[in-house]
Amino acid sequence: MKNESEPTNQGRRDFLGAAAGLTAAAVAPGMMLHTVDSEAAAPTGGVSDAHRWGLLVDTSKCADGCTACVDACDQENGLNLQSQPLGDDELKWQNQRATWIRKVKLQDNLTGQVTNLPLMCQHCEHPPCVDVCPTGASFKRADGIVMVDRHTCIGCRYCMMACPYKARSFIHEQVDQKLTRAPRGKGCVESCNLCAHRLDTGDISTACADACSAEGHQALVFGDLKDPTGPLRQALAKKPNRQIRQDLGLNTGVRYAGI
């Protein structure tokens, strides 16, 4: 049996090999490939664990009633392009629309002391959302940013249950207008990604921290937790600070002073 089929197979291989060669020769000559302009500006070589991005929030500087960080985030990440479904209750919409930063107001009932703070994804070193994700869509980048790969997300919202900071949002409806830098689709979970599109192009900043500085509050300091001489580490060294729910041992990338 084997002896019979062998010569046939060999011939077939020769034929296919020759045909492949012929095709390649037909395609190859005279092709001038168009090069992309943006390649010159091709920003960074991708993420690496040489950095770990984080924030310090100084709650004593965070002003009551100021929403500069929230508005800047909405603009930067296209969250202001969401529209309220027709006939939907206003309160329900405010609860359901995606928000990456929330302003939280705390009041000590005994002393009456009021604390304002912005709360967003805390970019944990050990993120519970990643632990529970059934598809692996929720993941942590090498530079410590916790993100959702929405190509893999099935919208089960398990991560939203697991997050101690209520940081994640679910997109309930088709979004008509999207920004190139911030894709957004029905049925996926999303949250703060520390303006990853900026970082990936070598711009070490976030919209929220920029807006806070522009307002003159300087309550948000963004930077690299692994750079001892950087602005974040220097600010962290100067002010006593802690993690929210430090007891969970998540080692968050976002730290708070004054709480």
Partner: protein, 155 residues
Amino acid sequence: MAEVLSKGVLLAFLSVALGLSAMAKAEGVGDFVQPSSKAASVENCVEPTEYMRRNHFELIRHQRDETVYGGIRGAKHSLSGCVSCHVGYDSQGTPLEIDAEGQFCSSCHDYAAVEMNCFDCHATVPKGEAWNHEVAAVHAHPTGAAPLAATSAER
């Protein structure tokens, strides 16, 4: 010897047939590149046209993972690159949605009856992408603390 000859003849015939069918196809199916798009002014796509027709989704899918997990943006095979180059413009210079009927992506996908989900989530016109290529360089400030005036103008 006869066998070799017959193979040669067969190969030659095959190559001619392939060439003819490719030509016929190019004419019949048409060129879906929009005359008003940037793509119309360049000779070729980022890869040979024939290759792109058959394999563009593989390239985009590969690049997608590089971008999401590796943070590599503005690369040769990025979807935002496809959109910015292939999007058509109306007479006022307003970009037309790339997945709208008759536009670059949908005209071929409709012909081939292949569903396309990219634009359920991704932007259909180049909007808010300038950040990546032009503004980022101007904007870059290594300390991360300086206030910025230009941000709102960009949007």
